[in-house]
Symmetry: C2
Subunit: 322 residues, 2 copies
């Protein structure tokens, strides 16, 4: 069995080896650029981790892993346009560097590149692989659409929020692992279990992200601590606070949304989170999803010791500060 | 054997029957909207025409035909954003109606819908179908990129122009027909021949489009006659004129590029086209590609009478005024 760092290394080696056409240069350079901005390569690694868990051939799963990473980076290019984001991993975003039109089109051709990689998997599992990949890609698009719509809505329910992060983040985690299972030719039931593990882990991961935005260590957290608060982002924490606050605090919360003193804004909203123990509530919810993930993992029919790495990885992801 | 109008009718019936998710509404409504703006459905019909030519099962080819039409409409959504176009077939473009971000994302999910349809073809031909579709889609993206780049370049050669229209328009015509051939399980040689027929027909079609921009009947031509001249678009005609003009006429041609009297601009440039017989030159080039198409068709190993409809269609396309 491979260790997770070994699988991540395989991905790291495979990415620069992908060959794109050289012409038109401005169409393909952005692909090389964003694919090499780095990152933990967790999504493609999960394809290989799932393959290895079920004793499948990790090399046979590599095209699917690269398809997942390519697709993920394509969504980053288009999301950055939609979010008007100037930076990605501290570097210029593609649309900043090449212009919006070029970024739209490079993203489009990247989606084709993802499909080209996918088409390389063994014929026997190809149809299942395509169906899982397409369902996953569709979910991610739906999640991004909901995320955009939530920005201008004031009646987002907590259930709707969970569904949005499920689509935007978690289906890709689940889908990546399901691809690995399909390539290992396990039963549909086993493939669904690893999907459930991944999806629930993904939701827990995103809830942890919401918590870290407020409580992360500024020295270690990759993004600006309080960034969601400043942007009035409807996170799991804010939506729960809005439900929990008394009439008196409701007005004070409302006032903060237009407070231009950002340090004060962060401090005041964090104080409200403390008062209503929103952190405890969010941690409880996160733990519930993590438990669901572990329940699914426990039901997977492979020797227990093969699951240990995944359990360890999950725990690390939940205790991370970055 | 089906008639071409019968195949077009099959497509017309199949399109409204495609089921998209109902939610998020703003993600999927643009798909239904653009798919139902009309058009001749020529591209998807070509998949079925090729299938029928090779005595394949037209119903088995329908998913690939719908994938081609869905992909084509996805490119229209994104192209309209890039071209900042307000109207498409006389109706608001998707980005005008739903906003640019929504249009990017609806386009993205449409690409996924195209792939979902494609994944429904018979397993035995699936890999070939995917490879042809992906190569086609990639070519179309490259063509759009080159088209955008040519707007700001002053050194576009005629060969580069032909390559651009080949990628932007003709590979989709060829690719659509090749899909039909693959689904009919013909030999790779036969599939390449119908691809060559389609690609060359597509180039001839686009050259005819360039000619019609200047010489089309304003009552019948779908677009504004002289629209390319007004926009200083580097068409086959303009590029050839630039090569052919004398020193004296070169300055007069240059002056027209900034002439705001549009009727005069059209008249003066048309006069230069006449003087150097650019229409004759373009017609000759168009005919050469049409001949190449017919040569490929002649080499296809099916009874001659089965090819008659395609020959008739090709001739109609070259003698059209719309």
């Amino acid at each position: 069995m491979y260790t997770i760092p070994e699988l991540q290394k395989l991905i790291e080696q495979a990415i620069p080896a992908i060959e794109y056409p050289s012409h038109p240069k401005n169409l393909y350079d952005p692909i090389t650029y964003i694919m090499n901005l780095g990152g933990k390569r967790l999504r493609p690694a999960l394809v290989l981790i799932a393959t290895d868990l079920f004793s499948g051939d990790v090399n046979a799963a590599m095209p699917a892993a690269l398809a997942i990473e390519t697709f993920h980076n394509f969504t980053l290019i288009h999301d950055d346009i939609m979010d008007n984001a100037p930076l990605r991993r501290g570097k210029q975003t593609v649309h900043e560097k090449w212009g919006v039109n070029n970024a739209i089109l490079s993203g489009d051709v990247m989606m084709v590149e993802a499909n080209k990689q996918l088409a390389q998997v063994n014929t026997g599992v190809l149809k299942d692989v395509l169906n899982t990949f397409n369902t996953t890609a569709q979910g991610v698009c739906e999640g991004q659409q909901l995320d955009m719509e939530f920005e201008t809505r004031n009646d987002v329910s907590i259930l709707e929020y969970i569904n949005m992060i499920r689509l935007k983040t978690a289906v890709l985690v689940g889908g990546a692992m399901k691809l690995g299972a399909i390539i290992s030719e396990v039963s549909p039931e086993q493939a669904e279990l690893i999907y459930d593990f991944g999806e629930n882990l993904g939701i827990a991961f995103q809830l942890q992200d919401d918590i870290l935005d407020v409580y992360g260590d500024p020295e270690k957290f990759g993004k600006q601590v309080g960034g969601d608060i400043i942007a009035n982002k409807k996170t799991f924490l804010l939506l729960n606070l809005q439900q929990a606050v008394s009439k008196a605090d409701e007005q004070s919360l409302l006032d903060q949304s237009t407070n231009n003193n950002l340090d004060q804004k962060i401090a005041k909203i964090t104080a409200l989170y403390e008062k209503y123990d929103i952190r405890g509530l969010a941690t409880k919810e996160m733990t519930a999803y993590l438990d669901k993930a572990f329940d699914a993992l426990a039901r997977i029919a492979v020797e227990k010791h093969r699951k240990e790495q995944l359990i360890q990885l999950s725990k690390e992801l939940m205790n991370r500060e970055t």
